[in-house]
Amino acid sequence: MTAPPTTQLRKTALNSTHRRLGAKMVNFGGWDMPIEYSGIISEHMATRTAAGLFDVSHMGEIEVRGGGALALVQSVTSNNAAKLADGHAQYSGLLNDRGGFVDDLLVHRISRSHYLLCVNAGNQDGDFEYIRAHNQFAAELENAGPRYSQLALQGPKALEILSRLTATQLGALRYYQFAFGDVSGARCLIARTGYTGEDGFELYLAPEHSETLWAALLDAGQSAGIKPCGLGARNTLRLEAGMRLYGHELDETTTVWEADLGWICKLDKGDFVGRQALVDQKARGIERVLVGFEMSDRQIARDACGVSHDGVVVGRVTSGSPAPFLKKNIGMAYVPLAARAAGTRIEIDIRGTRAPAQIVPLPFYKRGK
């Protein structure tokens, strides 16, 4: 299969900035995106010790408005959106009628009749159609991806850096809260969320301000040690933090119970797509569960490597990689319940060699308070 030429790939508003910074670019789900600038390890470490700046404008945004907005959001997601107050967000699942994931997403409540959903890049259009198909509540729906850029500023110095560019009281935003404010002259939805396991912010803004804001953040963060970071570090950071990735740990066949995400499923909130299937599975019991593992030697487990327990192949690695901060090689996989306990010895098939590993609790890394 020949790869599409770069001219056919979708580009964020920062594409020429990334190229000017010397980023190594990659085709990520049809988007021409930076995978790394100075190196994945250096970017990963900068995010854990100072700050990393990510262009995540490829992510999708869906706006849900009107009197029926809450009812629609409640009916297609697993978490309880009715618990949100204005300016609060929650992690949730967009489920199918078998209780599997159509996508994982963030639900932001702007007001009782206005929600912003942030969905995965490749799933944007599919999610929008799916929600539209379930819209018996006459809510207004907008596939708003094209009118948003999104930047993520993550790391222990993120608050200090962003504070230099906005009058918004960032310290008053607790984790998973958001506010509207001006950042370097650009109106932004400033959310204290992220996909790295560090403190930080995700900024939603109009594309025409992206380049100015990107430059302002790099400038404001220079003395603190900020680095531009690509999708390579984004992946190693989220994996180290035990965060699931759609298409790897989550897909149409995995349920919240199997993915060990029971906390985003509120069966008592009312009916929602997939609820009955989840009730049934909870009663029957699950047969596989997502776990984290750590390699015992220097070999590196990769996505799709076979996983064995007691000499029997039991599954495949869903995500595997070196973990730069922990200086270990880690991964996640679905295993039978008998193999789930921390300390259980498993083997990963790495190109024909059975490499030893052991189950460890998730998350691998948790930031200090």
Binding site: G39, I41, R298
Partner: protein, 132 residues
């Protein structure tokens, strides 16, 4: 633009060879380390392994990917660079020097002259970059 030592020879799989008497020192090129990104693990052959040109010699793994290394010449492995086990990142820092991978005793010294010289290798990678 990287400089490729003019007294080395190169393969299209991005290995370099430096010969002294009948011993060939072998590594991967600056182009290869740049493509790979941060190197985290090097898979080495055992000393004594006999290889024909083109056979898999070992592997170099980066955070994102793994690449097989092929013997540019036929011979037997007489030494491996033990520094790389604890400091694989040397391959990114000094791919043509301190981060040599293995030394082989040549089975047939004439094989070396069939490899690309520095100018030909440089042209080869320049063409790859422009068509990317």
């Amino acid at each position: 633009m990287a400089t490729y030592p003019t007294d080395y020879r190169y393969t299209r799989e991005h290995e370099w060879v430096s010969v002294k008497d009948d011993i060939a020192t072998i590594g991967i090129t600056d182009y290869a380390q740049h493509e790979l990104g941060d190197v985290v693990f090097v898979g080495m052959p055992e000393v004594g392994t006999a290889l024909k040109a083109g056979q898999t010699l070992g592997s170099v793994e980066s955070v994102k990917t793994m690449s097989d290394i092929y013997a540019p010449v036929s011979g037997s492995v007489v030494e491996i660079n033990s520094e790389l086990a604890n400091a694989p990142e040397k391959i990114n820092q000094d791919p043509h020097g301190a981060a040599w991978l293995v030394r082989m005793k040549l089975a047939d010294a004439t094989e070396v002259s069939t490899l690309l010289d520095a100018a030909a290798y440089q042209a080869f990678v320049a063409e790859k970059d422009s068509s990317a």
